[in-house]
Symmetry: C2
Subunit: 238 residues, 2 copies
């Protein structure tokens, strides 16, 4: 935990009150006490420094000094739901690298039972994303939505999820210009990443028809999780 | 398995004979039989196509047609041994993204028992690396060496491990030019990645004194595994 993340509910007019696991981490792992300072962040808000004004066994009373907010992430990931074990391990890295939104979708090569896995549940995602944010000293919580109909997502829902001027790119092994060319963009960018085995023809054509231009990381055939992290590194988000 | 990897020992004058797990994969998972073709690669050599001339329950007799070898990877990774569980999961992604060499080293913040973990054993690394290569359709097996003395590695051993004209860079959160500037290099490149918590001052100074120039992926504080994959994506290897 490189910062302790606070939410609006932790705040009161004179500072913040933190209890439970975060307080225990500060007291027992970081071994801080009254008078010590620690780095904090307000979820979807500024970074800052907190001073422990008082504490008991599992709560802290903090005074706060806010600095600037970190830059807002501009990459939106549209991802065909991977194997639950792989998905479970992806949330923290995605939050560490910084994304605005994670749009999880069905596709012909996604197995339906994946949607019932605990790794798809919002509570699981939330906790893992917070862990990644506090590792990376970021406060922008990626928004996660789950879509069981690919076609409805692309045709009806996507325009409301993405900013109006958002560039759209489709990851394609070996086809199109390099994803590295996307790195110069200062605008929002949506990246579509298919399932192991790829999108089928219908899915690919629907994405292209909705503005997703094929880009490549090179000819290597990468697993979803590896491709996603390498791609975010190539783009340099944020 | 996107290619079946063969080694010199599998070859004979008329083709190759494959048995054991690879043969079972071809026969039972890919469900191929006599007359079918499959993609193959020769370890540290060319890619090609094989035709199954005959087969029995767990062996294949192949005729071979070789094409070109994939480009030789030019990135060498010097990595302070991470937690064994993290290391175990890194081999395949590193092979998928393509590296020439993995130099695993001790550092003040590496715990000594890590060196006794089964994930550090050459057999474990070998198997995981092969899995990553056959996923990525590559044949260049990263060479792995393990060094229990950081100082001896940097002062005495490194010059023999790296090509003479190899550029050297040190990953540093927030300091130096961007790692993306390294992507234009056509020469070999060695990247030093520290342990969780970073190199200590002595280690950092020794690396800089031996030509490792600080480069950054940005101000975010990333875990080793996430930093490594994002960095290789940023550099674009190979």
């Amino acid at each position: 935990m490189n910062i302790v993340l606070l939410s609006e509910e932790d705040l009161h007019p004179a500072g913040a009150r933190v209890s439970g696991r975060r307080a225990q981490h500060v007291l027992r792992v970081l071994r801080l006490g009254r008078g010590d300072e620690l780095r904090v962040g307000l979820l979807n808000g500024p970074l800052g420094v907190a001073r422990i004004e008082s504490c008991d066994e599992d709560s802290l009373e903090l005074s706060l000094c806010w600095h600037e907010a970190p830059p807002r992430p501009r990459v939106h990931v549209l991802l065909a739901v991977p194997r639950p074990k792989v998905l479970g391990r992806l949330y923290s890295p995605l939050a560490q690298l910084g994304i605005a939104r994670l749009i999880l979708t069905h596709a012909s090569k996604v197995e339906r039972p994946y949607f019932d896995a605990h790794q798809v549940a919002p509570e699981y995602a939330h906790e893992q994303l917070l862990e990644g944010l506090s590792q990376a000293r970021d406060t922008w919580l990626p928004r996660v939505t789950i879509h069981r109909s690919f076609r409805r997502l692309i045709e009806d829902e996507l325009d409301e999820l993405l900013p109006a001027d958002c560039a759209r790119a489709l990851m394609d092994p070996g086809q199109g210009p390099s994803v590295r060319e996307l790195s110069a963009h200062a605008r929002d960018l949506a990246l579509a990443v298919g399932p192991e085995g790829g999108w089928n023809d219908f899915e690919r054509e629907l994405l292209v028809a909705h503005g997703f231009l094929p880009h490549t990381l090179g000819p290597r055939v990468l697993r979803t999780d590896v491709a996603l992290l390498a791609m975010l590194g190539a783009i340099g988000a944020p």
